[in-house]
Symmetry: C2
Subunit: 449 residues, 2 copies
């Protein structure tokens, strides 16, 4: 039994939905289908979800409202027409939009939540009807029926454990279930959307709930690549990743999808396969809980920019019980998360993502450090990039650190920071941002080429 989730690009047009349909049709194990809202058909296109969000902020029945809702309906109409399914659904969609938008409410978040869910919901209805036209026994299943019960947090709903029981019972139902992604319902029936990557979350929850043998995540790429293809054209593909490796890779701007979305599947130990709707013959990338010893080594190189280094030095710092803790406390008081905190004997660096800092927070932090910790020096240095060499079980392997550092040396790049020791899955290098592409190339050549 498999759960197949189709992302925005996989349902962006009738042509894409037909591809998804063939994929579902060719394997009877694909019993659960989860869909996103239609995404972009081309670069300058607008996602249905974005139009629905826009609509939630304009006054009902105004000219502006009509203009936006017309565009949404036109988009669906084209799909429905090209798929040759009944027009009825367009009336349903239109009514759903108008009903949601006409409600007078002080709770804008709730309104937006309901409106934006219509993209996925309508898409699931269209897909299930299309599957019927190609001879499959498929039905639309509302998340409430499916048992996707969530916390009362609009835009950031969390799945409640009871959901899995109801979902498991769905195994027994006949035919293919098509479930819209991105939202669930509270115990008292209020619709709530998930956070970013919401359809992935639904797919992952369904896979965990029905105890699927496989969760297939259909995207528009053949696989996960060992390195960002925007930096290295046509890089090697990753055949198999572990959950932990995926998590470390996702952290550092390793696109494809939001790793937390996969948490329910990971926790239920359901293997995940990343596949391409446009090239379903390609094996894709498997994400599993464990892989065999032989295939261990570096699986990928991830990177991200936008880090700053808060540096504090004070003679005899290491004798001052609580110095490090107090420094982190000051950051915490200002609501600033830190990434890493390498320390020397008389000094400590705190690596912070730039988006955690504002000029105001920075000033406040620096003033408090001066007053409360009385350091010898304090500085903030911007423009850091982090590069992560990822691979489970490789960390204690002799030679990985050497190979990595040799790559930097060969490319004449200074390493500003090395963080190894806690994670068994990665080594992190801090370098100047402008050296990032050069560094990635050097590491790719060292480990993969």
């Amino acid at each position: 039994m498999k759960v197949a989730k189709f992302g925005g690009s996989s349902v962006a047009s009738s042509e894409q939905i037909k591809k998804a349909g063939s994929i579902v049709a060719e394997d009877t194990e694909r019993k659960f289908v989860v869909v996103s809202a239609p995404g972009k058909q081309f670069d300058t296109d607008t996602k249905i979800t974005d139009r629905l969000i826009e609509l939630s902020y304009v006054e009902f029945n105004t000219k502006e409202y009509k203009s936006i809702s017309d565009k949404i309906i036109e988009r669906f109409a084209k799909i429905v027409h090209e798929l040759d399914i009944s027009n009825e659904i367009l009336t349903e969609i239109s009514e759903a939009i108008d009903t949601a938008a006409s409600v007078e409410t002080a709770d804008q978040q709730r309104k937006t939540d309901i409106l934006k869910s219509i993209g996925e919901d309508s898409c699931a209805k269209i897909v299930s009807r299309y599957l019927n036209t190609i001879g499959l026994n498929a039905q639309y299943v509302n998340p409430e029926e499916a048992g996707i019960i969530v916390s009362n947090e609009p835009g950031n709903a969390q799945i409640l454990p009871d959901s899995y029981k109801t979902l498991y019972e769905m195994r027994e139902q006949k035919g293919i279930m098509v479930i819209p992604g991105f939202f669930g319902f509270t115990t008292d029936g209020k619709l709530m959307t998930f956070s970013r990557g919401g359809s992935d979350i639904t797919g992952s929850i369904v896979a965990a709930g029905v105890q699927a043998d496989l969760y297939e995540n259909f995207t528009d790429v053949d696989s996960v690549y060992v390195v960002d293809p925007r930096i290295i054209p046509n890089p090697e593909k990753v055949t198999t990743l572990t959950y932990k490796e995926m998590r470390e890779l996702s952290y550092s701007g390793f696109g494809v999808f939001h790793d937390e979305a996969l948490m329910p599947a990971f926790q239920a130990e359901i293997p995940v396969c990343i596949k391409n709707t446009n090239n379903p013959e390609s094996a894709g990338t498997m994400i599993v809980s464990n892989k065999n010893e032989e295939s261990r080594g570096v699986v990928g190189i991830a990177s991200d920019t936008g880090f700053s280094n808060l540096y504090v030095s004070k003679y005899l710092m290491n004798r001052e019980l609580g110095f490090g803790r107090r420094l982190l406390q000051i950051l915490e008081d200002e609501g600033i998360s830190f990434e890493h905190a390498p320390s020397g004997i008389d000094n400590m660096s705190v690596i912070i993502r730039d988006d955690e800092l504002t000029a105001e927070k920075e000033l406040s932090v620096i003033n408090r450090i001066h007053e409360e910790l009385n350091p010898d020096t304090i500085s903030i240095d911007y423009g850091f990039a982090m590069v992560m060499v990822v691979g489970e079980g490789m960390m204690s392997a002799v030679g990985i650190a050497e190979k990595s550092t040799a790559a930097f040396a060969d490319a004449n790049i200074s390493i500003e920071m090395i963080n190894q020791g806690s994670s068994e899955v990665s080594v992190m290098f801090g370098i100047r941002k402008d050296k990032l592409h050069k560094a990635i190339k050097a590491l790719y050549n060292k480990f993969f080429n």
Copy 2:
């Protein structure tokens, strides 16, 4: 103007004091002499200071008391006799001991402080009189006269800033001043000893106070070595070190002396020279505030054992504001200092010196982490050694990390931890304790041989 400090081995016998005398005599710049108490003459010998401490814990005028005080006096008598100076001083010493030991006091710490200071004090008196016999205009100067004014902390006195003014005025005095190390006086005249390395502290304070051109620290080694001579026989000597380099080297079991003792000299930017009383012709090692660019690179490899790794992992740890801070807070509440805290995405390690941990503290820490942080896993791993590759300005140099990691790889040693990024002066590697000698050898061969 120079300050020459002679350590315990340099005044352990009449023969050694004669060597120290020649050293003082041969350079008229050596105007200030600071002395330790007579140290060990041979491996199984007992230091005068240790006998004095012992004496402070026994009842006055008992058989045991007499036995210990006799041994102290005998030791001094032999020196005095061999140096051919007046016996009067032995009566002085004997009286000083009896006076200090006969006081009825509830304050054992104060009593011990006064008794143990007699070692240095007597030695200074002997040395000044000996210098007179070889024709030098030398005089004993009591630390109170010299202006060494300290805080009221027996065994851990801290110098008060006013001291430096009085010390500076001593520049104008004629002749050679011989000052006992290890103690000073509070503003209300109470004698207080410094902490470990106390005579080095006095020497360093005097050098800073009189604004010496050089602070000479006479020991029994020719120089500082680039690596522990117990691991590598006859290693290369260090010609010049910066203060910062010395500090990092001292931290990790790099013998010679206690780096904090040199703080007053460092802060006054007085150059320090480590020299050998037994081989004063050898150039020794200079410790300076800055050295020229060309001589930059790896200056030494330090190491220490006795570290443990407290490892905590929790999925989505990096989203939990304050997780790291709370972990460090728990350690702080138990009075445990940490050395380093490398962190991954979902995990954090805290490197702790074994002597900070007791079975009880460990249990308490683990219980609190379980209760308060609800981690997925928690473990304590013992038996780590830390290796530091030290050299100012080398850190951002391309290739240092590579050379170091290559040394480990060549020796087939797994690197458990790398900490680079905060200190500009060192990179720290964590390895298993049993690999330490092998690692030091490999690094020595890579950087020096």
